[in-house]
Amino acid sequence: MAVTETDIRKIADLARLSLADEEVPAMTAQLNSILAHMDVLTRVDTASVAEAGADAITSAIAVARDVKSGGAPLRGDAVAPFPMDATAPMLAPDSEDGFILVPRLSTHEDM
């Protein structure tokens, strides 16, 4: 499954990354080299894994969750303050009346 330069440009766009034209050939070669090592997995018989993926998740995450209670620990359905040492104006460059101000972009429509 060789990755082409067109694929790399498309993936970069999906990932919201822009690659310079001169970066594309090297990145394509590196990804192909890395992915070639992954092909060994296609030859592994995973039929015994009942529901693909679920078993693996069970092993790592759910072992931690289920070790005692048989379910993920859930907190009570009550509003509690988030432990923050900051107020809204400290979290953004600009704010007004407790709201965060964002820069105007050309795609914003006039109200």
Binding site: L41, A60, A64, R65
Partner: protein, 470 residues
């Protein structure tokens, strides 16, 4: 009481020493002496009135991806330059409650993506043992902080071996607890099904004390298990003699391939004989899917990272690119300028393996093979084996700049990623030196069996004595 403040003063001065800063070994990326001393004064008062503490006045260094209130948390990335978290990691809160004082943030591979601390936006950290060599990574700064004597204890994080591998390279103890043992709240997410906060220390005992100080359920992290926290182990002296009588230790053949560095193998052979001499029953075992761990890891971890790092977009986090026309261009410009090459490469791999048409072939398949790797461990531990002993890394520390092929770098994690994929606890401890370079030995146990892991490690540490560093 005076002593706690003096200890903090001394550690804060070491952390601020230019030899460890950007123009030196490049271990420390941030300090806040004023805040450290204020915290020390609070600890001194609480300790003076008799509050129980397991780490009174213990100075600690913290990897730069763990949220602290009084120092920036930048993950070694330009995209988080100057970022100060509005909340603190649960692990830090708990350590501070036990009397620990944070004196430094340490260098790391950008977003923990690397095995050499060379991908940091701050530049590479140098190994205190030999400054021409890498301290390993991604928590290279924290490993080096303990090795250089800046602090006795440091925090790192693990996704595929980022504590154990640098611990081995720098000649210190490194712990990756069971997945779910320590809250990930406040640890900047990389691969959420793999990430755990870990500990560096000069001794197994101190590593255990710090691990247990942070452990226990946390309602701010639903993957953190509410299981009882073990008590602090006895002093090391208690592990002398035939203290491993009745303990069965497995030696997995797959971790001793013909390609293993001869010096690493020789040191491991000595350690195995020491374990036998302590009374342990040594058995050969097999973990047949081990060779698949790197391909599996380098699908699952980038897949999770590509999702986790979507938040660094110039809106929620990061210095926003200004010279743009629309929102999409702003995202792309911000992320392309903010992320380094290795992070971009992993985001691209992750996006690719999750994309339509490739999801089944890569991501789903990798999750299935991950299950087989986990079953290997279940089978071995189910057969009566209490612990596994292996080398931590295939080679001692390599020179900075020596490994240029990304996949070759990934292979330095071959003996450590399996514990992350299976979620089991593992520790690396020094088992000797070759040509002056430290070699690490690894002990792995069942989920939540940190007590057994620390028991075997402390016994081996005590029996090796000065040999561990010779």
């Amino acid at each position: 009481m005076r002593n706690i403040i003096d200890m903090t003063n001394d550690a804060a001065a070491r952390a601020a020493d230019p030899r460890f800063g950007r123009d030196g070994l490049n271990i420390v990326v941030a300090t806040n002496q004023e805040s450290s001393l204020a915290n020390a004064e609070r600890v001194a008062i609480a300790y003076g009135r008799g509050d129980p503490m397991s780490l009174p006045g213990m100075a600690i260094a913290v990897k730069d991806n763990i949220a602290t209130l009084d120092m920036p948390t930048t993950c070694g990335s330009r995209i988080l330059s100057g970022y100060v978290s509005p909340y603190e990691a649960t692990a830090i809160t708990r350590l501070r409650a036990q009397g620990a004082v944070v004196v430094a943030k340490t260098n790391m591979d950008e977003f923990a993506m690397g095995s050499s601390t060379e991908t940091s936006a701050y530049g590479p950290t140098h190994n205190p043992v030999d400054p021409a060599r890498s301290p390993g990574g991604s928590s290279g700064g924290s490993a080096a902080a303990v090795a250089a004597g800046i602090t006795e204890i440091a925090l790192g994080s693990e996704t595929g071996g980022s504590v154990r591998q640098p611990a081995a390279f720098c000649g210190v103890v490194g712990v990756k607890p069971t997945y779910g043992r320590i809250s990930r709240f406040g640890l900047v997410a990389f691969g959420s099904s793999l990430d755990q906060i870990g500990v560096f220390a000069r001794s197994v005992r101190n590593a255990a004390i710090a691990t247990y100080a942070m452990a226990g359920g946390d309602l701010n992290d639903s993957t953190c298990a509410d299981v009882p926290v073990p008590t602090i182990p006895e002093p090391v002296e208690a592990y002398r003699g035939r203290t491993l009588d009745g303990v069965t230790i497995g030696i997995p053949a797959e971790y001793f391939p013909p390609s293993l560095d001869a010096d690493v193998r020789a040191r491991c052979d000595v350690a195995i004989e020491v374990l036998r001499g302590l009374g342990a029953r040594i058995v050969d075992v097999s973990l047949p899917h081990t060779e698949l761990a790197i391909p599996v890891y380098y699908i699952i971890a980038p897949a999770e990272a590509s999702s986790n790092l979507a938040r660094f977009d110039g809106v929620r986090y990061g210095p926003r690119a200004a010279d743009v026309m629309d929102l999409r261009e702003m995202y792309q410009a911000t992320r392309s300028r903010g992320f380094g090459t290795e992070v971009k490469r992993r985001i691209l791999i992750g996006t690719y393996v999750l994309s339509h048409g490739y999801y089944d072939a890569y991501y789903k398949k990798a999750q299935s093979v991950r299950a087989l790797i986990t079953r290997d461990f279940d089978a071995v531990f189910g057969s009566g084996v209490d612990a596994l002993f292996t080398p931590t890394t295939p080679t001692p520390a390599f020179k900075i700049g020596a490994v240029t092929d990304p996949y070759e770098m990934y292979m330095s994690d071959i003996f450590t990623v399996t514990a992350n994929l299976a979620g089991i606890p593992a520790i690396s401890l020094p088992i000797g030196r070759v040509g002056g370079l430290p070699i690490g030995g690894q002990i792995m146990t069942r989920h939540f069996d940190e007590p057994r892991m620390f028991h075997v490690a402390a016994a081996l540490e005590a029996a090796l004595g000065g040999e561990a560093h010779a």
